[in-house]
Symmetry: C2
Subunit: 413 residues, 2 copies
């Protein structure tokens, strides 16, 4: 039987953009990532066979960057001419992932990755894609061939309704962010193949999946994730103040590395209220825009516009952009577009519901950085259901970052 | 590009059961068949290109019975041990169809087949399958690849709903009668492949399509059609009385040829009221059952039960059967089953809606015998929308057969 992950590029593009920064500055920082199933009611450990999971993870460890994949990354020009440096690509070519740590505990799957940040950063989306696909395979294998046809048919028709709405609204610009929680590689591949044909590149901007971007001639999309802020807080862990300052340090490192091209800031690691205090007026002017990934997106949009205006920036005229990426579906996309598109550029990083909408409920799975330099890591976000870290640490970080929110909403995905 | 009809077995089985009888008794009777589009609002001649139609019909004329096809027919045992005689199969092996007569007249396609009955009888379903598939191809070609995926997905889900209902009602016994008005060969092939796997042979009894029966290991199903009665009336055309008597003559020829195995009588050629007067008590006892193909199926069922009871037959105990085959959908099948299954065996010959339900409206196309031995032919049926023949001839036949009905209902298919 074939494997799920067959290329080191079958991952989110931001693993490489972040990876290069990490490689330059923090390559040997010891980190630990942990898998977490936020859909607690699903006993993953009873559904996915350990041998199947090991087989897939072992195969990832054997993957090496092929010559054409190397070419593709070396030739990436969309954000900055040859944005990936030779030394980083050589490192990727020789990438050796540390062995994963897997144990089944009752109904739960414990899966962790520990080692130098520059290599272990690569596990996240591959592990998630694997666990998701193995999970749905179990359900698909219980069906007859015809019932499986019906699942795929349902998927096509649900996708068709999305496509129809998007065609009626050519102003809605969107991107596939669905690698990690896709129903299967084939489904994400199909979705991207169709979108590439049905929409101009001005509306369907591309995909976060580097391999599929290469395959379908799309723009590889993505900027950075929470782990940058989280691990940086683990590195700069001397005091509350140094932790607080680590947030803006990430922004400065990022700007130094990629400048305007990739300057979309993720806003919710310690809550967006803190973010809007922390981002300087100069940064607000320089950076292209912001990414919203938790909490109420309408509230966020209003806050973002006020934030720009406070700094004397006209978000419409100065072409600031908000990337919405939290649990989107087509109805939410339409509403957000309606609400904001006259006031600020909006675009949609559409994940789970784009690549995993065939009638099965989706799982909310994550792989999060939990430790760096021996320090436990924390994410707060604008929805405490998405917070990660020990209770004590979360309390401490709330205090450090002046976090006063109490929004708690079960994650859809 | 591939052809639509690729085997002389890609036709309804009854073309061979009738064909053998015709070959034995009436092989050289000159007959004429004519294509008719009962969906008058669809300008077929403007939709289907003449060159495409000629290409497909020309290809049918080049087809010859292959060795495995010959084997299959020779080995057909389901109704009577080796039911096809060597001389008839040799004739089929050397079958030469007479050239079709095709002309485009404005928006209409005029297509006729004239020649010896024993060969020309073969054109009907092949011509219909071709015209149907060419018609839908035109619409499919206007769609993008993804839109075509969505059409097929719609087809799978509509089919799935049928399968689900039938699984909940394991007593509903049915047969595929969908060759002539299928969406495409591939669709009928798919439907039969799924039904063969999803249902036991006691519920899905088989298919009228001989090629697909062979391919999927199903029972080839079918008995006889209106043309037997119609052409016989053209042969026995000396007087009103001989025309009237030709109806029962067909029943006697058929019984002599196939006996109990294929003794399902088609009841509506001249209206079922006449049929129930014409079939004798002995025939009612001998024959397995009746096929209903027009008019109100509930009325027909009641009449059929009364008919048997009048002749001292207990339709349930004596295992008489009604084959419903007129414009069925799953709702109608459920209702008919509910109404009758405790009182008489019922089975369903499910055509258009089984093999052509992908979201496009179906066409009501027929190829009917219009002339035999120089005499114009007539069908009345229990729905005058399905009557064929000149107005004068129809009036004369109404009088000959004591036809008093006035039911006229637009054909669904």
């Amino acid at each position: 039987m074939s494997y799920i992950i067959n290329s080191l590029l079958d991952t989110d593009f931001y693993k490489f953009t972040m990876g290069q920064l990490v490689f330059k500055h923090f390559r040997d920082v010891p980190v630990r990532y942990a898998f977490k199933n936020r859909t607690a009611k699903v006993p993953l450990g009873r559904i996915i066979k350990e041998a199947d999971l090991r087989r897939e993870l072992d195969h990832v460890m054997e993957l090496r960057l092929g010559n054409s994949e190397y070419h593709y990354l070396l030739g990436t020009y969309e954000y900055k001419e040859r944005m990936f440096r030779e030394d980083y690509l050589q490192f990727l070519k020789n990438l050796e992932l540390q062995p994963y740590e897997l144990r089944y505990e009752g109904d739960a799957i414990k899966l962790e990755f520990a080692g130098p940040w520059s290599s272990e950063i690569q596990w996240e989306t591959m592990a998630l894609s694997i666990i998701n696909e193995l999970y749905y395979r179990v359900y698909m294998e219980r069906l007859s061939e015809f019932e499986r046809d019906a699942v795929h048919a349902e998927g096509v028709l649900r996708f068709k309704r999305k496509v129809d709405v998007l065609k009626k609204n050519p102003g809605i610009v969107f991107t596939d962010f669905g690698t990690r929680r896709r129903f299967s590689f084939d489904q994400q591949d199909y979705v991207n193949g169709v979108l590439a044909k049905e929409f101009p590149a001005t509306q369907f901007r591309g995909t976060s999946n580097t391999y599929l971007a290469m395959k379908h001639g799309l723009t590889p999309m993505g900027t950075s994730a929470h782990e940058l802020f989280m691990v940086m807080a683990g590195i700069k862990h001397n005091s509350d103040e140094s932790i607080r300052q680590s947030h803006n340090e990430v922004l400065r490192y990022w700007w130094e590395e990629y400048g305007y091209g990739l300057s979309i800031a993720l806003t919710d690691t310690y809550g967006s209220d803190f973010f809007f205090l922390d981002m300087t007026a100069e940064q607000a002017r320089q950076w292209k825009g912001l990414r919203q990934d938790s909490g109420d997106p309408f509230d966020f949009g209003e806050k973002a516009i006020k934030f720009y205006e406070k700094h004397g920036i006209d978000p419409k005229k100065d072409e600031k952009i908000i990337v919405f990426s939290d649990g989107l579906d087509i109805e939410m996309i339409e509403k957000l577009y309606e609400r904001f598109h006259d006031r600020i550029k909006v675009t949609f990083g559409w994940g789970t519901n784009l690549t995993n909408d065939l009638g099965f409920p989706a799982l909310s799975l994550v792989v999060k950085a939990v430790e760096a330099n021996g320090n436990r890591l924390v994410k707060l976000s604008d929805n405490l259901a998405k917070a990660t870290g020990d209770m004590d640490d979360i309390a401490r970080f709330k205090s450090i970052f002046g976090y006063s929110g109490d929004n708690y909403e079960e994650c859809k995905y």
